[in-house]
Amino acid sequence: MQRIETAMIEKAKALLSSGEVTRVLGWKKGELGYDVEPCVFKSEESLKDFCYNVFCGANLSKYLVEESKKEGKILVFLKPCDSYSFNQLIKEHRINKENVYTVGVECQGKVDPYKLKENGIEMVDSAVETVDTVTVKGKEFKKEEIILGKCLTCTKKPLSYDDIISFNEKREPVLDRFETVKKLEAMTADERYAFWKDQLSNCIRCNACRNVCPACTCTKCVFDNDNSGIASKANSDSFEEKLFHIIRAFHVAGRCTDCGECSRVCPQHIPLHLLNRKFISDIDRLYGEYQAGEDTDSKGPLTNYTTGDVDPSDVFGGNN
């Protein structure tokens, strides 16, 4: 991984010095190893804080909504999963592609700091990564023990970029993406309600899920719009969060690339991505497999009507 980080920095320096780009969007080292945060680097010197390692789980694509409006080109490093979000944003005209130089970077799963903490490991300084293992503070973990939930089921492939840095080694998904969705589907309505009530009642409405979500890029969110009449509706209910998350899932349905950022950033560890995955699984069943963000020009099944479209009741039965 060190090798890739070096190559990325070299690439960034070369593009900055040639003037082809004026800024670089990447990840910046924090005080501790896992305190990595997205950052826009504006000079070659500033790249001394640049890093790319097992803690770079954050999806950079959403930052480009604002960054690509600015003058000059920006270089962005995209992991495979980030690339789908990037494409989806291009499709929705939210990113000005002309102002972006994309470089795809390899990823073999990113570490979930919470899982390290559960294993009693804190104050991490650095980590050593192989395809299947990560060693921190002298302790070797199998990847599936400590990587992010989204990485356990990752089937994402590198897409097209202006340039690519190393895609030699690929990890296969450990878990079936829809396993938990299937479990939830098998529950009775009451059990499912109890599950979600239990999960969503932990929500503190910090809005982190919305703010990080690459599909949530509205100029003004309906929940912030007093005029929409939705915000006050949600507030009036004692179980407000249920509505917030469900409305949000509806808003991103068909556009969600399943990047898993919502669950990654949730400080309450609510498995929010499951709501989106239920939509994805239903869309797959109704209209054939569809991966949002795989391309930049298709309409997507929920906003495209063809005469061959099935009637959902034919697939799910009459009561749906």
Partner: protein, 663 residues
């Protein structure tokens, strides 16, 4: 300050028998903003409307709620009433307390409570209404008729006679449809060809009519007055303009094994053929499945023989686009497939035929030149048994639940014609009921029984099997309460009819609604029987429901009258309830344009102030109000809530829901 008037209609006893209309008016009078609340027996009557007009003028009402029937019924009426009293027509809301309340409830207290809630909901919406004005759109003065059977032909002729251009698009190689295949027609027994072919010729000769055969509708865009239709002109491998219909190619063609579609496959035809002698256009067509030249490149005899060089083996499908103001759907019917009725042996025995096949066997232009012989050995049948209702009135799921309507009469016709021409033939008919409503119909049927001695047996047939070279028809005779077996030479099945399968695709393209049996739905079963609920789409012939020729022709002409009424207008009033985009919220994501069925949404780059003296350019949606039909697809798709529908805004809908949920 809003001043709202509430008008509760009794609808005679339709509403008043189940809803305490006076209580509804009394309760709604107490709603904030309501200044007058009245009831009347028939609010839609002249007196009822006068009551509304006077109330508007005397109280200076800013809006009215009419608690009455469905807005589909009288919204337009009350909007006009309001307008004539000086109120904007869009300041009218209808609370449907008939179809959605009195008709579906029995308990007066419950129905009254619900009517009050529906009234409150309409008041809540009205409070957020704004006056709207509608734009205008031009009308393309040309009609499209889909289907060239008798229905399509009659509609086209009548529209053309009124002076408007009309195109007939027919999927097969000739117009004429099923009627062209018939021998004689009931109840007058005139020859079908004698009365149909002159009409076909009229179509071909009429300057206003353009016939496109072997063509299909590819796509339909637009809306009433302004449809844009793509038509696929399928390759017939013969230049329609050059071919003279001389028929030499047909004689020379060495590949003569194609099933003759016109004769229901009872004989063969060459690979290059003219469907029948009176076909319009009288032009040959090549069946690529049969043509040796197209299949393996060897032959080309027809091209060598053709004096006018009309053969073109390289012809390709061509797609043309035309604009129309109105569309007539006249896609007709076909007999059902008999695969679910093995008991009658249709697939097993050659001498079990359908009625339409019998028409060809009896037709002078048919495979046996009108000499009635059975298909297996070409001998004259001496005993013929007809089986009625094969797949009609069938609730078992094998056939159709409806009555196909034409079979009783054509079977009587067949039986009569056979007894007339071959008096020594025995004719039996198994039937469930004989249905003969219609002018001179019952007289016709009685003639078959009384004058021609046709043996009608009330009862169903259990099975048909072969024994000693005879087809044994085993059935029950309900009148004599016995089982009968009739050894027959020919068995004729009155197969149910169903809408042409292409109608589903066409209905989807023109967004016309369709019922569970694939018949197109009319806008009103009694009062608007030739119009689809979709504006600008009209229904002609069996695509709307089973009917015979006289009825089809009447409906086709009625349909033409409606089309002419539409085309005679220079401008149509556009829908005022159109979408608009709040540019401060729009992110320009294109989702609304994706779902817009009318192509009404485009995007523009606009500069917006973002504070601090700065501006930014954003891509935002812009709605063409003349094209928008107010379907609302964009408003529900927009993730930002930037798209909204005038007259049905998200806020208005939420206000209605709130009013209903509030206790």
């Amino acid at each position: 300050m809003q001043k709202i008037g509430v008008f509760v209609c009794w609808c005679g006893s339709n509403i008043a028998a189940t809803v305490d209309v006076k209580k509804v008016a009394d309760v709604l009078r107490l709603e904030p903003g309501v200044v007058i609340s009245e009831t009347y027996q028939y609010m839609c009557s002249e007196n009822g409307q006068a009551l509304i007009r006077n109330a508007i003028k005397e109280n200076g009402l800013t809006g009215i709620v009419v608690c009455s029937c469905s807005p589909r019924m009288h919204e337009a009426t009350f909007r006009k009433t309001a307008e004539s009293a000086g109120l904007n027509p869009y300041m009218v809301e209808i609370a449907n307390i008939r179809e959605q309340c009195s008709w579906i409830h029995k308990d007066m207290d419950e129905a009254t409570e619900k009517a009050i809630v529906l009234g409150r909901s309409a008041i809540a919406k009205l409070k957020l209404n704004a006056p709207l004005t509608s734009g205008e759109s031009a009308v393309v003065k040309r009609a499209l008729v889909i289907g060239g059977g008798i229905a399509g032909i009659q509609s086209a002729l009548d529209i053309a006679e009124a002076g408007y251009e009309v195109d007939i698009v027919e999927s097969s190689a000739t117009i004429g449809g099923n009627m062209a295949k018939l021998d004689k027609t009931f109840p007058t027994l005139d020859c079908a060809a004698c009365i149909l072919t002159p009409k076909m010729v009229d179509c071909a000769q009429n300057e206003n009519i353009d016939i496109m055969t072997f063509s299909e509708i590819e796509s339909v865009k637009g809306f009433v007055g302004n449809f844009k239709v793509q038509i696929r002109r399928k390759a017939r491998f013969v230049d329609e303009k050059k071919c003279t219909g001389c028929g030499v190619c047909m004689q020379k063609c060495p590949s003569k094994k194609g099933k003759n579609e016109f004769n229901m496959g009872l004989n063969n035809r060459p690979a290059i053929y003219i469907p029948f002698a009176q076909a319009i256009p009288n032009v040959a067509i090549i069946d690529p499945e049969q043509c040796l030249k197209l299949k393996n490149g060897k032959c080309g005899l027809c091209a060598m023989q053709c004096q006018v060089n009309a053969i073109d083996y390289t012809q390709k499908d061509e797609i043309i686009e035309r604009e129309y103001g109105a569309i007539v759907v006249a896609t007709g019917y076909k007999p059902i497939s008999l695969e679910n009725f093995n008991e009658y042996g249709y697939d097993t025995y050659k001498d079990v035929v359908t009625s339409l096949e019998l028409e060809r066997l009896m037709n002078a232009a048919g495979p046996s030149d009108g000499h009635l012989v059975r298909p297996s050995d070409h001998k004259e049948p001496k005993v013929i048994t007809f089986i009625q209702c094969v797949g009609s009135r069938d609730t078992s799921g094998c056939g159709k639940p409806y009555c196909s309507k034409i079979c009783c009469m054509y079977t009587a016709k067949h039986a009569m014609l056979i007894r007339e021409k071959y008096p020594d033939t025995e004719v039996h008919v198994f039937y469930i009921d004989v249905r003969t409503p219609g002018k001179n119909y019952d007289e016709f049927f009685r003639r078959a029984v009384e004058q021609y001695g046709v043996d009608y047996i009330k009862g169903m047939v259990g099975k048909v099997y072969e024994e000693n070279g005879k087809l044994m028809v085993q059935g029950s005779d309900l009148i004599n309460n016995e089982q009968v077996v009739i050894p027959s030479d020919l068995v004729v099945l009155a197969a149910a009819i169903e809408p042409n399968p292409s109608v589903r695709k066409i209905a989807t393209m023109v967004t016309a609604s369709i019922d569970t049996n694939n018949f197109l739905t009319e806008a009103h079963a009694k009062l608007r029987p030739v119009e689809s609920p979709t504006a600008g789409i009209f229904l002609s012939g069996v695509c709307q429901g089973p009917k015979d020729i006289p009825e089809t022709v009447s409906q086709a002409s009625a349909c033409a009258a409606k089309v002419v009424g539409l085309l005679s207008k220079d401008k149509l009033k556009c829908n005022a309830c159109v979408a608009h985009s709040d540019e401060t919220l729009c992110t320009g994501c294109s989702v609304c344009a994706n779902v817009c069925p009318y192509g009404a949404i485009t995007y523009v780059d606009k500069e917006f102030r973002i504070g601090g003296g700065k501006t930014e350019t954003r891509r935002v949606a812009s709605v063409n109000e003349a094209v928008c039909q107010g379907c609302g697809a964009c408003t529900v798709t927009c993730p930002s809530g930037a798209m909204d529908l005038k007259g049905f805004s998200n806020k208005q809908i939420m206000a209605e829901v709130d009013a209903i949920c509030k206790r």
